[in-house]
């Protein structure tokens, strides 16, 4: 078990761990909404459209500009997507928004001299160089998003389950959708420097999907997704550190975290199948002859 604790004696590793655990928990929570609203593609679009903001922020103000550039781009695309969804909720339109804005970012980076290195940092992040200031930013974002979701949890649930009913009950559905898109954008913005724009999508989808495979109850799914997200960050970081120190194998830490998460999902998926099979045989034994709803 030493592998799990020893690396984090180092200050930079401790900061990286704190960052990933917070992000994992945050993304796990928001991810449940993404999963239940089937917004995976919208989320993927958001992660890519934040990218030009990252590039422009970096060009204008260096490393510190990244967060703010991402924030502006995130806010703009969250609003755009909310408007968009009303007109054309088409995958095609999302794909076009995604590739076009991403291309703007790539075009801007490709004119710089240190092209390849910069692009890599933007796309895949550098979790090991996380500063205390970034930690503060992430914490503020987390508190903000969690508070927002906690306050709005009832209308969000209603809108998720029955949009027409929500509208009839006087819930402002458009505003709620904007809030959710903004929450997703904030998670992307907070994660951008640590795990990069491309891999955030994993933090947002995989823990929630794993939790969903294990339980049918929302009250269980949300904390479980949090836990899986945080554990994935921890384990992934430990694995990449161990590989580098003991085996001389450099594994990108962001990518390793995602692979650990996917492995956890596969385990949860298998466990979910097993659980349902057990439950079904119990039910059918208890009430054999009863008609099961389709």
């Amino acid at each position: 078990m030493n592998i799990l604790f020893e690396p984090f004696q180092l200050p930079f590793m401790a900061r990286a761990l704190t960052q990933l655990v917070i992000l994992g928990a945050l993304a796990g929570t928001v991810g449940v909404l993404v999963l239940l609203r089937r917004l995976a593609f919208v989320t993927d679009t958001l992660t890519h459209t934040v990218f030009p903001g990252v590039v422009i922020g970096y060009i204008l103000a260096g490393d510190d500009g990244i967060f703010w550039g991402a924030l502006v781009a995130g806010a703009v695309t969250a609003a755009l997507l909310t408007l968009f969804a009303r007109r054309v909720s088409e995958d095609a339109a999302l794909a076009m928004l995604l590739t076009t804005l991403f291309a703007v970012g790539v075009a801007l980076v490709s004119r710089r001299s240190g092209y390849a290195a910069d692009l890599t940092a933007f796309l895949f992040g550098r979790v090991l160089t996380v500063t205390e200031e970034q930690l503060v930013q992430t914490s503020v974002v987390t508190v903000l998003v969690v508070a927002l979701l906690a306050v709005l949890r009832r209308p969000l649930m209603l809108r998720m389950f029955d949009p027409e009913g929500a509208r009839a009950a006087g819930v402002r559905v458009g505003l709620l959708d904007l809030v959710l898109n903004a929450a997703i954008a904030l998670v992307v913005v907070a994660s951008v420097r640590a795990v990069g724009t491309v891999l955030v999508i994993a933090l947002l989808i995989v823990p929630a999907a794993a939790a969903r495979a294990l339980s049918d109850r929302l009250a269980v799914i949300v904390p479980l997704a949090c836990l899986i997200g945080a554990a994935g960050g921890w384990l992934g970081l430990a694995v990449s550190y161990e590989a580098a120190v003991s085996h001389g194998l450099r594994l990108a830490s962001g990518g390793t975290v995602v692979l650990v998460l996917v492995a956890m999902y596969v385990l949860a998926f298998a466990a979910g199948i097993l659980r349902r099979r057990l439950a079904r045989s119990r039910v059918s034994r208890a009430v054999s002859g009863e008609v099961e709803p389709a």
Binding site: A286, V287, G289, E290, V291, P293, A294
Partner: protein
Amino acid sequence: MTEETTTGQVTLEQPGRTAALVLDRACVAYGDVPALEELDGVVHPGEAVALIGPNGAGKSTLIKAILGLVPVVRGRIEVLGTTPARARREVAYVPQADTLDPDFPVSVEQVVMMGRYRKIGWLRRPSAGDRAEVAAALERVGLAGRARDRFGTLSGGQRQRVLLARAIAARPRLLLLDEPFNGVDAVSQHALLEAMAALKEQGTAVVISTHDLAIAHLACEEVCLLNRHQYGFGPTESVLTPERLRAAYGGQALELRGDRVIVTRT
């Protein structure tokens, strides 16, 4: 062949004609979950039978089983004297229009032509004869003028008529319709009923799933009352009695409690 139905009547065998559909103690299941049990009945060419039952009764499942898309786990379903899968060539299926993507870029003509694909075969293009067949089918449902319009621009009832035209173009001996009258305007309903009557006259057997009792009285001489089990199969008047209906539908209104589900079949 089981000719005795639950109504106690005996359907006489018509010599020289194969039954279009025979259900013989048929049980249908999705995976290990049984969907329909113990179905019995016969439909002859030129007859129409309505599948009546509440939502989730298994009407669509039975249609899929007749198409051979859902397996029969016990008993037997015989279509046109052979297995469902083998008979498929002469069976046409009309899905609910609103299950199809209204944005799909196909014209009305192209949709109806799909009914001919089976006869055209792989790798070949439609002939002039196929086109004439398509035009005639559209004429039958009263939509000859809309051939070049995009499918999605039509009203719900008109889309349903186009799908019936597609089935007509296939020249089936057995026609299966899944809730064809859902959300259909009066004009389209009339057109659908007329086209179906014409098909019946030519000897096509028709199976319609519906939860609309009036339609059953209007379009069908026989009814199969379903809710997971069969609650009756036979002439419309004798099956759609208050007692049988209460039996078939009541179970759903009441709460199901294990063994206390009322089963009227003996």
